[in-house]
Amino acid sequence: MDLVRYGPPAALQLSVPGRTASRVGRKGGTVAGAGNGAVRSDLGEVFRRDYPQVVAVAARVLGSRDEAEDVAQEVFLAFGRSTVPAAEAPGWLSVAAVHTALNLIRSGRRRASREETVAATADVTTPDVAEAVLTREDRSRVRAALGELPRTQAVALVLRHSGLSYAEVAAALDMSPGSVGTTVRRAESALRKELTRHASSD
């Protein structure tokens, strides 16, 4: 039952809802403590390899590129002072990105105007039928509901939809590959219910 092996993910996962992203970042750094504020030597290498993925994962949660970049900064600051082995960094970074982004949603301190600007553009410029079915309000609701899901469900869902394989999601969350499907399914079912609940009450 080796569930959480390194400080930062535990700190992130245990952080209470509403805690701000910057606090999490700092906390991760302190708990993981490479010591004396020292920054790990492979930070640049890992950054160049994984930054786009971290931004993409956070953007999936937030729907805003600017906010996703803010989140990625927090995550790499925490990573820079952690002792996570480089080989496990991609999973760690992705999980941390989702947690930090979800904390941002739950903190209610979003840069709301940015998301709406992007969303409005998306509505106009994407002719895709499936997307047109979902209104901007629907998407906002899904994101709010995502913030309310049990954390593992939300993280597994976002990682899966970010293109990680079941094995990668399982490794990142230290769960069995067999339970990834169940966890993702539960999350999707909950989000769909959230959408249909509003559709039927409109």
Binding site: M1, G7, G29, V31, T121, T126, R160, G181, R192
Partner: protein
């Protein structure tokens, strides 16, 4: 053969190669599973669209990610952030000191509940616990746990081998339990149930004072002295065998589930289980809700160790045949369950029914 779980159906959409051949073959020929698979696909696509639309558009609109700009920003922030982190050092590390023992207890609580949870997980196939969400611990609780091996060894043993049987008589013979018989099916539930039987499952936690002390020392904390004899003693939790009857609805979800199992109980070697439990309760920083949960464990299996995630379900109590039953109602109203323990046997009646209807079924069981 039993129906593959929801999780298996979900994976079938993304990684069919990751799903065992028998499950794939079953789904291809099973109208119920095909219907469930279609519903799974619809939900997955809907959520995928909701999450991808803005994100991917936002990214596409702004061009590819600018790694160099991100790196410049990070390196600019690093020297400033390092000293800023220092004043924070005291408080977070303090909270960590307290977190470790608390988390150890939480982990232990889960291992104990593990008889409940693990059994519930093995009951997954039987109860399809994914649908009876109130009965399972949320996985987020599990992920937040620390490395339990720092405090001792954990071993899950037993192969519950849950499988379908043709009739109640076979179920009774294999499980050794009285298979509950539903006198009158509630409105909307019809047909014959699918009956499944599962064997016994057990979990053993062996406490190691050395390792617990090392873990505490690593966190700068001193463990309270463990009671004599605790070091090296084991607690074994056993659950099962069990039997479940499932009536399906057209949607593929269980309309009614009636399950019965030998209740989870704790056995200890060396020191009494209560001593182990009380020592864990004495560790500093233990959250009150976890403590309350731990206090609920008894050595005789008379208490039902089912943590109820407050965000998923509400619980209340009712009386069934002289025993106090826990009534769980999913917050989304989709599922409810009535669970009670009598003479070391736990019985659950669950389904997509009103709690009153379930209570009525529970009270009329033969």
């Amino acid at each position: 053969m039993r129906h593959p779980t929801e999780g298996t159906l979900r994976r079938l959409l993304d990684e069919p190669a990751g799903v065992p051949d028998p499950d794939r073959a079953h789904v291809a020929d099973c109208p119920q599973c095909l219907a469930a698979l279609a519903a799974t696909r619809r939900d997955a696509e809907l959520v995928g669209t909701a999450l991808a639309a803005e994100g991917s558009t936002a990214l596409a609109a702004a061009g590819s990610t600018d790694v160099d700009a991100g790196w410049r920003r990070l390196t600019a922030a690093l020297p400033a952030a390092a000293p800023a982190a220092r004043p924070e050092r005291v408080r977070p590390s303090r909270s960590r000191l307290f977190r470790r023992p608390a988390a150890a207890v939480l982990a232990f609580g889960v291992v104990l509940a593990g008889a409940g949870t693990a059994a519930a997980n093995d009951w997954l196939q039987v109860f399809r616990t994914e649908e009876v969400a109130p009965l399972s611990l949320t996985t987020s609780d599990l992920v937040a746990l620390p490395d339990l091996s720092a405090y001792g060894d954990v071993e899950l043993t037993g192969d519950p081998d849950v499988h379908e049987v043709p009739d109640a008589a076979t179920a009774a013979e294999e499980s050794g339990l009285d298979v509950p018989e539903v006198a009158d099916l509630p409105r909307g539930v019809a047909g014959e149930p699918t009956i499944s039987v599962g064997g016994q499952l057990s979990a053993t936690f062996t406490y190691s004072a050395d390792r617990a002390a090392q873990a505490a020392a690593a966190a700068g904390e001193t463990l309270p002295p463990p009671p004599p004899g605790l070091d090296g003693s084991s607690v074994r939790l056993v659950a099962g065998p069990g039997v479940a009857q499932v009536w399906s609805s057209e949607s593929g979800l269980p309309a009614l589930v009636v399950g019965r199992a030998v209740a989870p109980s704790a056995y200890s070697s060396g020191v009494p289980f209560e001593t182990v439990r009380d020592h864990l309760l004495s560790l500093p920083g233990l959250p009150e809700d976890v403590a309350a949960q731990l206090r609920g464990f008894t050595a005789d299996g008379s208490t039902l160790p089912i943590p109820v995630p407050a965000d998923l379900a509400t619980s209340s109590t009712a009386e069934v045949d002289g025993a106090e039953a826990t009534v769980l109602t999913g917050r989304d109203g989709a599922m409810a369950a009535v669970v009670w323990v009598s003479d070391g046997v736990v019985t659950a009646v669950a389904g997509s029914l009103d709690p009153d209807e379930l209570l009525s079924v529970a009270r009329d069981l033969d």
